[in-house]
Amino acid sequence: MLTADVSRVESGVTSTQVWFGPEDRPLWGWVSRPSDGTARGGVVLCPPVGEEGRAAHRTFRRLAEALAGRGLVALRFDYDGTGDSAGLQDEPDRVEAWLASIEAARQHLLDLGVPAEPGVAAVGMRLGATLAGVHAAAGEEPAFSSLVLWDPCVSGRTFLREGEALFGFGENADSAEGLEEGWRHTPGFQYDTATASGLRRVDLGKLPATRPLAERTLLLTRVDRPVAPALSTRMQAEGERLETGAADGQGQLLDVPPELSVVPEAPLRRVVEFVADGFADQAPVPVKAPEERAVVIGSEADGGSPVRERVARSGPARIVGIVDEPLDLAERSAHGPVPWVVLVNVAAEHHIGPGRRWVEWARRWAAQGYRVVRIDQSGVGDSPTPPGQADDRAFAPEWIDDMRHLVTELRADGARVGIVGLCSGSYSALEVAMWEHVDAVFAINPRLTLYPAAKGTAVYTDRRRAAALPVAPIARLARHRRILAGGIWRIYREFALWHAPLLILWRVLRRGTAVEVIACHDDAQHFTEVYALRPLFWWMRRTGRFGFTDDDAIDHSLLSRRAQLLGYERATAFLSRQLPLTSPPRSSNPTARKA
């Protein structure tokens, strides 16, 4: 079964997953600390919010481990209602909750024994920097000894407007007319009116100049964009307490889809040096080891419909999975093994899913009675990277073994297993279904023609059973002319039927796995356009174990609210049909039970 020993020890640094903050609304974090149990100080790491937060996950993990390597305790965490923390991302009035999360993180470090003098340091990026700056200036005394503002948003308004524009300029442009009223839409994440108002109130340019942000502050700004005059003016008030530098590499970190983000190495080193220098004169003192534990966490707003959540590891690669279980699991198990649902990370992004929907779906399904685990495959998110391999390799060959071990472990007590995935996660689901018995696969926008894993790429392997790998000349062409290569490939496979992605679904279906696909038109056509296979497609739908929906309400990356809601609705219905619970589902009424 999944193991509970979660801490990771590497190069003299121990990283432990922690829950902290309010007991009825716990916050998720990872504490990285020197393995000898001592530290010279502590650092709170305030990540960006929204899609930028997903993109910066690897950077913040690296930052935490590097700071711990310099003798500090680093706490990277998710704000209330974001990432893996309790709460919903679209609950009202988020800004106060996010600011309170920063204070809770600072307090948690002090509780672990980090010396109160000179005090805790903080590093914030983008809106995380804005929030850290606002929190720093909120009290009579600065909250932090040292503060790093890494490419800060000058204000919450700027953050929101940028996000709204990126949403409108992106692949969701055509769906703008169908936007749900009352929400401010950014890629993947939506905010209510109260949160939008709250964001307007956080503004680094308007912080009182008479109140220092910290004893020392480092401001890193992009060289490829003008610095907002209001930010420059306010930061000048820090006088000799201020250092400045270039936030190089932010374009490769944030201006690309999260799965393509690159850690900005030079600024990361600069941040580590700056923070470590602030504690250079401090002698190491013993600090407590954080406690690994499960928590009871609400699956709905205000802590309603609680479930039990814990972190576990799976397989010899010890990949990380976050497990949600119903509170009455023992009672339910008396009727037979409770089914498992697996939510797979997308490409090289960590396990929270688009708009952190995997977190919310997992908790809701657990509240209904399922056991759910959302995972990071090897080299991604919070999971280890195999020795000698690079981080964040989408379609890494070791993912095949990760998924096989996971499914084997979940089925050990005879439980039925269903897998839900998006894009590459759908591929991983179908791949493992070709190796091990999987009862059900819900595939959102599956792409089984794997150009990134074609022959000649770093992740090529001939072990794949659920991939259509383009032949070498087309794979080479695709590196420079992707659209042309795709067109040629699609014409070619009209005749070379054995490359048709529909056949993969057929093989999975024949192995006894129920399959449902929902896809935007671009992704759906790969399964429907081979004329010779249309009778097979018709027959598959007649089996009653295969569903297929071509729906342009779905965007490929599931970044729009209506696609996310539709995905949840369809996946939930699919699970109830294919993995029925043996005892009646608990009410999902948000007010039914409180944590």
């Binding site: 940028e162 524009a165 990126l166 409108g168 300029f169 703008a176 964009r225 003008p226 201006d255």
Partner: protein
Amino acid sequence: MSSTVTDSIRALLAEHARLGVDVASLSDTDDLYTAGMTSHASVTVMLACEDEWDVEFPQQMLKKSTFASIANIRAALAELEVEGASA
């Protein structure tokens, strides 16, 4: 035609759009994306316009075509009743 608003748009583009060409070489109807403006740069242009004229583009105007040319930006500002943006 308002030369003041157009000139201001050109100045903002020169500072924020990171075009591959001199903005002075572009006509009002030339495609800014073809001239090298990225989606992220156009977001910066959008924010600069909002700051310059103290307006907020509504969600339905937040699409790439709104910022695809100087003329389009001016038309959007006219729709928001920015003084001098109307022909």
